[in-house]
């Protein structure tokens, strides 16, 4: 099991703590929906096909930008609010981190908060593809950096 960059690990612990107060399934989703409503979404101008990840159930847009210190900033959005909440969690954990750390991140928090099923590729909500693209982008950048 890969050990995470401290930044990414501590953010995951934060999320896990956040969710630890909910033991009811519906409460957890209520919180997720609130997060979905809050997420700073992607610029409308960037909601183009180029940034679209087409899940079969919901659509996700993802944009990635290199920061000056060689990290990555992600912004993302979804047309479904629960997916948007999940997308927001992913951005919160992975954005503004070193490329290498993103590429190698062990994303255990979804499992820990009991939402791991949303990452199943067969769920077709676009989340799994989004995470894959985040990693690919970061890996490509890391390769250029080294």
């Amino acid at each position: 099991m890969p050990s995470n960059h401290p930044l990414i690990e501590s953010r995951q612990q934060e999320v896990i703590e956040d969710f630890s107060v909910f033991d009811d399934w519906m409460d957890k989703y209520e919180h997720l929906i609130d997060l979905g409503k809050d997420v700073p979404t992607i610029d409308d101008a960037r909601k183009t096909d180029e940034h679209l990840i087409k899940g079969c159930q919901s659509r996700v847009w993802l944009a990635a930008d290199e920061t000056e210190d060689g990290g990555v900033v992600f912004t993302a959005d979804s047309d479904a609010i629960i997916t948007k909440g999940l997308v927001g969690l992913m951005v919160r954990v992975l954005s503004n981190a070193p490329a290498q750390a993103i590429a190698e991140a062990d994303l255990h928090f979804l499992d820990a908060i009991g939402l791991h099923q949303h990452l199943s590729p067969t769920r077709s909500n676009g989340l799994a593809s989004m995470v894959q693209q985040m990693r690919l982008y970061a890996a490509a950048l890391a390769a250029r950096q080294s």
Binding site: W25, I33, Q57, D79, A80, I81, I82, S124
Partner: protein, 411 residues
């Protein structure tokens, strides 16, 4: 006719899965149009076969092979009788509806279609009744033309007749009942008109077989397909029914064992119906269990099932009608047990996820009918509740209450 409200009470205990919980709540299974649950008779029949008399069928001179063959061919006979086939050799086992439509598209299509020919379909078809025709059109130079659907989910009959006249199609392929809208198409009339215009007809009965009596000769179509898993049967099996003359004239599609008369490198001759189209070892346990599912439905009575489901649809329309901001998609007067809906500003995926959290299984998205979704301007698809013989009005009430709770959370 007996009291249809008592139907689920009588049969629910036949379905082990209906006793289970999901996320700590009793399962409310309203995803029957995707796949129905299986009665004990089907589950145990398959187990009994595998435990007691499994063998490869046909051409086996030993006792188990004989038993297995008789059971498998007995299932074919049941199916033939159930759908009113003239002869059981008109029933070809396939791996499902999709496979059956592909059989017709590849075998009949590639040998009968050529440049300029038209295949007519409706805009409410399942992808299974669109993509095979697109592929055969691409291979042969034929053209696929769609008939429009009204906003209420009924077929645009005027457009249908105009298209028949204008395109003089070689084949009209149409769904018997729509898996997204529930609409039951007037297939007998449509086939009569298509025939008068010189076209052959293929009816996709995937959503009809579980819900109503089907008589292929009364419908007057040339081909009829359905799949077992939506009709209380096992996965991996379905059938193509075709008029004997058509099937005889069609070339085989898949090559291999069973479908041959004699094989040599100098030349191979093919077997007669139904074997000509059944290459390889068939899904023996599936065929047998499909036969059991048919018997199970007949023991209840297709008319009673249909009556019960009509009641469920009326109940659901009523209950959903009173939920603010929700619109039912598909309000044809004749429907099978399928109710699609959308809610203003709310994504179906979100509703579906929150229903799942309450133990309620529905399906969301385009239901493999993207062209229909485009046609009706429903970019994110719908949320679909679909019913079976075991569905209760109480389950619908639970689902509608769950929907209201979900909407409250999402707004």
């Amino acid at each position: 006719m007996m009291d249809s409200t008592s139907l689920p009470e009588r049969i629910r205990r036949d379905f082990p899965v209906l006793q289970r919980q999901v996320h700590g709540k009793p399962l409310v299974y309203l995803d029957n149009a995707a796949s129905a649950q299986k009665p004990l008779a089907v589950i145990e029949g398959q187990r009994e076969y595998l435990s007691n008399y499994h063998a490869n069928i046909h051409r086996g001179a030993h006792h188990l092979a004989q038993l297995a063959t008789e059971a498998f061919e007995g299932a074919r006979n049941s199916l033939a009788t159930h759908i009113g086939a003239a002869d059981s050799k008109e029933v070809i086992f396939t791996s499902g509806s999709t496979d059956a439509i592909n059989l017709v598209a590849h075998s009949w299509g590639r040998s009968n279609l050529s440049k300029g020919d038209v295949v007519l379909v409706t805009r409410m078809e399942h992808h299974a009744n669109i993509v095979p025709w697109q592929m055969v059109c691409e291979a042969t130079g034929a053209r696929l033309e769609p008939v429009n659907v009204h906003a209420d989910g009924t077929l645009d009959l005027e457009h249908f007749h105009a298209a028949l006249e204008r395109f003089q199609p070689k084949l009209v392929a149409m769904v018997h009942a729509s898996n997204t809208l529930g609409t039951i198409n007037p297939v007998t009339d449509l086939c009569r008109a298509a025939k008068a215009a010189g076209a052959l007809t293929l009816v996709d009965g995937s959503q009809a077989l579980p819900h109503m009596a089907v008589d292929v000769q009364a419908i007057g179509c040339d081909f009829y397909v359905a799949t077992a898993h939506k009709a209380y049967g096992p996965t991996g099996i379905g059938f193509l029914w075709g008029k004997e003359d058509h099937l005889n004239a069609m070339p085989p599609w898949r090559g291999g064992g069973e479908m041959i008369q004699r094989v040599s490198f100098e030349g191979t001759t093919y077997n007669t119906l139904p074997h000509k189209f059944e290459a390889g070892t068939p899904h023996i346990s599936g065929g047998i269990a499909f036969g059991i599912a048919i018997s199970w439905m007949n023991a209840i009575g297709m008319d009673d099932i249909a009556a019960h489901e009509a009641e469920l649809v009326a109940h659901a329309h009523n209950a959903i009608g009173s939920v603010k901001g929700v619109r039912i998609v598909g309000t044809a007067p004749q429907k099978v047990g399928v109710v699609s809906l959308i809610a203003d500003g709310i994504h179906p995926y979100d509703m579906g996820t929150l229903l799942d959290g309450q133990g309620i299984a529905v399906r969301t998205g385009h239901h493999c009918t993207e062209p229909l979704m485009d046609h009706l301007g429903l970019e994110s698809g719908t949320l679909r509740m679909s019913f079976a013989a075991y569905t209760t009005t109480r389950e619908i009430d639970i689902a509608v209450a769950g929907l209201e709770r979900a909407l409250a959370m999402l707004r």
